[in-house]
């Protein structure tokens, strides 16, 4: 079980032994230890049904844990829920806005539930292209993307210290997805903690310092994105002018080597520097190193762990 050392009770989010079961045989989440520091940007990854949303709902007191505890900014959700939620801003995956009221009224109402003023509202409305005309319409007339944008403004308008988002880009077009990532980047630069679950590894790659991966209700790993990048397996393709013996450039980390005429295909784990030096000496006609993606690491970790 990945556990972070130096447990700090005033971490932005701190889960200790957190578990949730339904009845005696359905274990939705099991013994999660996770500490997220202030100002950190962390992506919460996992396939459908892995327990991401359950963790978030436990962290916000929407569900009660079967075991363990969770705190936001040092406020335990079981004993100090109001203080914990004062510091949080949340967009659920299944956003339940009241459809019979206007977007403006919904936004005002949600703002009034917070003790802090909605200092970021105008900025967010502008960044996410929600104009006065749209806000005046009833929410039942909104598209999925418009509802999602309204939910994002509602969650972030009071500038929460801890931002918790459950698949926040779902329903947004690519332009709005990019705008949202910019907004989150901006909040992170302002010292806010950003915790979000996602299936889209690209956005986690772009925004996050760390990733936590869950599967079957268990935390598989918590790791720095930079560390994962370094450990990535790259796909390499080299075209030579003539026959070349792979032994002349072989370095540690090469695997799955296949020679197809003058084209050599293989994967490389680790630093490509030494390989490039050796290939340089052989004067290849072309070298393609495919940019390794977080998806590859993600799949490798899942498949590896499953095996």
């Amino acid at each position: 079980m990945p556990t972070l050392s130096g447990v700090n009770s005033t971490a932005a989010i701190h889960a200790q032994g957190l578990g949730k079961s339904y009845g005696s045989d359905v274990m939705a989440l099991e013994d999660i230890d996770l500490e997220i520091a202030h100002g950190e940007r962390i992506g919460f990854l996992g396939p459908n049904g892995a327990g991401k949303t359950t963790f978030i709902r436990l962290a916000l007191g929407i569900l009660s844990p079967t075991t363990g505890s969770v705190a936001i900014n040092g406020h335990d959700l079981a004993t100090d829920r109001m203080a914990a939620l004062t510091d949080a801003g949340y967009v659920p995956g299944d956003l339940g806005l009241i459809r019979g009221v206007s977007g403006r009224r919904m936004l005002h109402a949600l703002a009034r539930l917070h003790p802090r003023p909605p200092v970021l509202r105008d900025h967010l409305l502008s960044a996410l292209d929600l104009d006065e005309h749209t806000l005046g319409k009833r929410i039942r007339d909104y598209s999925t993307g418009m509802r999602q944008k309204l939910g994002l403004v509602a969650a972030l308008q009071h500038d929460p210290a801890v931002i918790i988002l459950d698949e926040p880009t779902s329903g947004l077009d690519p332009v709005m997805q990019a705008r949202l990532l910019e907004v989150l980047e901006e909040r992170a630069r302002a010292g806010r903690t950003v915790f979000f679950s996602s299936h889209v590894l690209g956005e986690v790659d772009e925004l996050c310092d760390r990733v936590a991966m869950v599967r079957d209700g268990r935390l598989l790993l918590v790791r720095d994105v930079a560390e994962l990048r370094r450990a990535r397996v790259r796909t390499v393709e080299v075209l030579f002018d003539g026959d070349v013996d792979p032994a002349t450039y072989r370095v540690d980390g090469i695997a799955d080597l296949r020679v197809d005429g003058h084209v050599h295909h293989f994967t490389l784990a680790g630093d490509p520097g030494l390989l490039l030096t050796r290939l340089g000496a052989l004067s290849p006609r072309d070298v393609t190193i495919q940019a390794a993606r977080l998806e590859d690491v993600f799949r490798a970790l899942y498949l590896g762990d499953a095996d």
């Binding site: 007191g61 929407i62 939620l85 004062t86 949080a88 949340y90 659920p92 956003l95 009221v101």
Partner: protein, 264 residues
Amino acid sequence: MRVILGLTLRRSLRRTLLLGVALGTFLFLVGLSYASVDQNQIRSLVESLPPAIRAFVQGADLASPAGYLGSAFIHPITLALLATTAIAAGAASARDVEHGVAELLLSRPLRRIAWIGAELIAMEISLAIVTVLGSIGAFIAVGTIDDLGTVPSGSVAVTALAMFLLFSGIGAITALAASFSRTGARAIGMGAGVALIFYALDYLAQIWRLAEPFGPISLMHWYRPSNVLGTGSIPTSSWLVLIGVAVVASGLALLVTSRREVAP
């Protein structure tokens, strides 16, 4: 709490006003129709009817102004309009859980007791609006139709209050059912089921001696609008039962809902 109350009332406002206007119109039309009936003819007609038919109006004297107008307060249309208001509002918490509204609201610094409390108050306000709009129809009838002039306006108001209390109880029972339900439809089904059982039990207790001892189990047993219109007062036992059921069911709904999990 005021924020949730405002949101809850606003989203049901159109429905509430429509139901209220419909009830007012219906009670006025019933009152209006009294001018066109011959009291002696209607008395002999009612007396010739079998008890199973007379039980639909709780054995009221339809020839008298109070009995005739009172029958409107127990007419299936009146009961359906108020039951719709009470059950729809009582099931709001289950609907909110089902559609993720509860999750959205309760992820804010909002106490659960404030959330469910606001929904219960909104239910009472909606019922009050429908009752008041309905009563206006009855007041206009009493004030403008000579043959109904013997019915005091105060008696109409007290009858409307009894009707409000009856449906407060049904709404509170629905709210209690909603606190155990994951979907609004299930809560509405349970609320409607309880209301129908109350109606059937009260009816059977009037016509079937074996069922008579079970009559008081039904809330409808404690609601006799023709008697209230005639006497101008609600019996103490009816006060106690109608208020008691509404308060106890609301209290239990508050308790259970404040402890339940609210994820969709």
